[in-house]
């Protein structure tokens, strides 16, 4: 074992684990990764449990239970760099739909023994609790971007991950815009990263990567309304994986 390799930890909070799978999904590069870093904590992949300190912590999942808050602070204390991975860790994930309802109320409807459920009233991204060095968006994040982020932190440089809209990637690929040809698309206000996956297959963007830099959600909402999308559906499209991202949240509340 080369003890000088940087130590990597992968942490899981409230999530479906899909982001961690993006890491395992690296297949071709996984061996190189295992060579380049010491995977010191990654429950999805290994039973090894080191206490740190870690050079890079990748955090998957949102802060959803009271004990998560202490744990994420502990992660911060033990890590040189913390990267939030995916929609849950950056924006609270799909479980942030609870933020628009009363947890107490539905707890008693759904669970036979609601007193066993210790849930915070809201599910939130980790940057609301600790300082985060980088947020990688997406549900799940693009594995090439994930590799880029890890490579960048290992090399001590800034990750090459652009914050512009999905439209840029769409035009780079030579796609015909689905919005202009008749299908409502969230691409103009959505953070790039997926390589314009849905528009490439002639579907409107669902906003998996959350708000792009400087999103004009009001103008986007007007365009959807103009295309015949009723308010109830507008609220739905804005409340998927990034419902609690401030720009999407605020706009969806305007149409409630």
């Amino acid at each position: 074992m080369n003890e000088t390799r940087p130590k990597l930890a992968v942490w899981k909070f409230a999530s479906c684990d899909g982001c961690q799978l993006s890491l395992l999904d690296l297949e071709d590069e996984l061996l190189a990764l295992a060579d380049a870093v010491d995977i010191a904590y990654f429950r999805e992949a290994t039973s090894r449990e080191s206490n740190g300190p870690f050079d890079l912590s990748l955090v998957d999942g949102s802060i959803a239970r009271p004990e998560d808050i202490d744990q994420i602070r502990e992660v911060r204390r033990r890590s040189r760099h913390v990267v939030a991975l995916g929609a849950c860790a950056t924006a609270g994930g799909i479980q942030a739909l609870r933020n628009f309802a009363s947890v107490e109320k539905y707890k008693s409807l759904v669970y036979a023994k609601p007193e066993y459920i210790h849930a915070l009233a809201e599910s939130k991204g980790i940057a609301e609790f600790i300082r985060v060095d980088f947020e990688l968006r997406g549900c799940p994040p693009n594995k090439h971007q994930l590799l880029e982020v890890v490579s960048a932190f290992l090399a001590g440089r800034r990750p090459n991950v652009a914050a512009h809209s999905v439209c840029v990637d769409c035009k780079l690929s030579g796609n015909v815009c689905v919005m202009v040809t008749g299908t409502p698309c969230l691409g103009p206000i959505t953070h790039a990263g997926c390589g314009a996956l849905c528009p490439t297959y002639r579907r409107g963007c669902y906003g998996c990567y959350g708000p792009a830099e400087a999103p004009n959600t009001q103008s986007m909402a007007r365009a959807f309304q103009h295309a015949g999308v009723p308010d109830v559906d507008l609220v739905r499209v804005l409340r998927t994986f990034n419902a609690n991202a401030p720009a999407f949240r605020k706009e969806s509340e305007r149409h409630e």
Binding site: A32, N160, S165, G174, V180, N216
Partner: protein, 382 residues
């Protein structure tokens, strides 16, 4: 025609056009022409006449594009294709160099520039003018782009005189069309009953290829008919832009309230700039691999609508959408003239059609002109 003696015009029938495309391929040209893909007419590599959008036209309005069938089997019966030739010459992504670690130093590798014979089939006047505009930025001056130069070095241009104007076209206002008068090897005007093409010869290369095809000399009435086609197009422009003193108009209205109004609508999505055939902005991205053994530098299209585009040490200079839209439009229509001696706009209308919220550059100019000198009172807000 521009001082040179006009060559006699010819007539090719549909089979003659098919043979023209075959002849160009036989001469090792790759053909880039219009074809139907994903609900639009796009420019793409085509194999021959069967790939052309036979019997299709389109309607274009601000923020709207719809493919529509037409009854007459026209091969060029539409206006502008979804993309211009920018994607062909000034490619969206380009690897600039590859570095590899070697002992205590590193090696640098460059990809060889792509040179291939390229025939543009059905090029419109606006798009030919757009190539000239990009040439001024990318081909001349101290910062000529070798990759761009290589890709456009061996062209054969078959222009088409526009038989109809799109809903967002305004080339007539910009003096860039619809009539192609130069810059082509051959120019076609599509005529019907019977379906045939009047061919104007622009160069000796064009003449040589034409000489290999079955053709007839055009009659006077066919010349008149062809002239009528493009004249009719000129008379039916979807839009117009009053360019009188436009540079001064925009320079003296930098604090106009219309910039706030457009910022309220603009998504900052970049589509207008990336669809525009003359916008040339790019950024450079460096990536390195996990092991630190190799690194690459790529150029990719960028846009003045991104925050990164104006990022200097410490932050972005143009933080508001107002300032970004203003930058785009004043550059395109005003400072481009100071910089390159020409307008940056050829009136193709793509920025209007392909803006998801239908922001219309002709309407924005008109609104500023209507209230020339109005001031939003925001001072020099970025």
């Amino acid at each position: 025609m521009q001082g040179t003696k006009r060559q006699p015009d010819h007539i090719l029938n549909v089979e003659g056009l098919a043979q023209l495309l075959r002849a160009l391929r036989a001469d090792a040209y790759r053909l880039v022409g219009p074809t139907v893909r994903d609900g639009a007419i796009v420019h793409a590599e085509i194999r021959g006449i069967d790939d052309l959008p036979a019997g299709w036209t389109e309607t274009q309005e601000a923020g709207t594009y719809r493919l529509v069938p037409r009854g007459d089997g026209a091969l060029f019966g539409f206006s502008t294709a979804a993309q211009s030739y920018k994607q062909v010459f000034f490619v969206p992504r380009l690897r600039l160099l590859k570095l590899r670690r070697k002992d205590s130093s590193f090696t640098v590798e460059h990809d060889a520039p792509v040179t291939s014979r390229l025939a543009l089939i059905g090029a419109r006047s606006c798009d030919l003018h757009a190539i000239e505009v990009q040439d001024r930025t990318l081909l001349t001056g101290p910062f000529a782009d070798p990759d761009y130069a290589a890709r456009r070095s061996d062209l054969f241009i078959v222009a088409v005189q526009c038989g109809q104007s799109g809903g967002t076209c305004f080339c007539a206002s910009m003096g860039t069309g619809p009539r192609s008068t130069a810059g082509f090897d051959l120019a076609l005007t599509e005529l019907f009953e019977p379906h045939r093409f009047l061919v104007q010869v622009g160069t000796e290369a064009g003449e040589r290829v034409l000489a290999r095809l079955p053709r007839a000399l055009a009659t006077e009435s066919e010349r008149v008919a062809a002239e009528g086609v493009v004249e009719q197009t000129a008379q039916s422009m979807g839009r117009r832009m009053d360019t009188t003193g436009i540079k001064e108009l925009l320079y003296r209205n930098l604090e106009h309230p219309r910039w706030d109004d457009v910022a309220e609508r603009c998504l900052g999505c970049t589509n207008c700039t990336l669809a525009c055939p003359t916008c040339f902005c790019s950024t450079v991205e460096d990536t390195g691999d996990l092991t630190g053994e190799s690194a690459e530098r790529w150029r990719r299209w960028d846009s003045c609508f991104t925050l990164d585009h104006s990022y200097l040490h410490g932050g972005s200079v143009r933080t508001s959408t107002r300032s970004r839209y203003r930058q785009w439009m004043t550059h395109k229509l005003a400072s481009w003239i100071d910089q390159f001696g020409t307008s940056g706009c050829v009136g193709c209308g793509r920025c209007i059609t392909w803006c998801p919220v239908g922001i219309d550059i002709t309407e924005e100019v008109a609104a500023i002109r209507r209230a020339d000198g109005a001031c939003s009172g925001e001072g020099g807000a970025p």
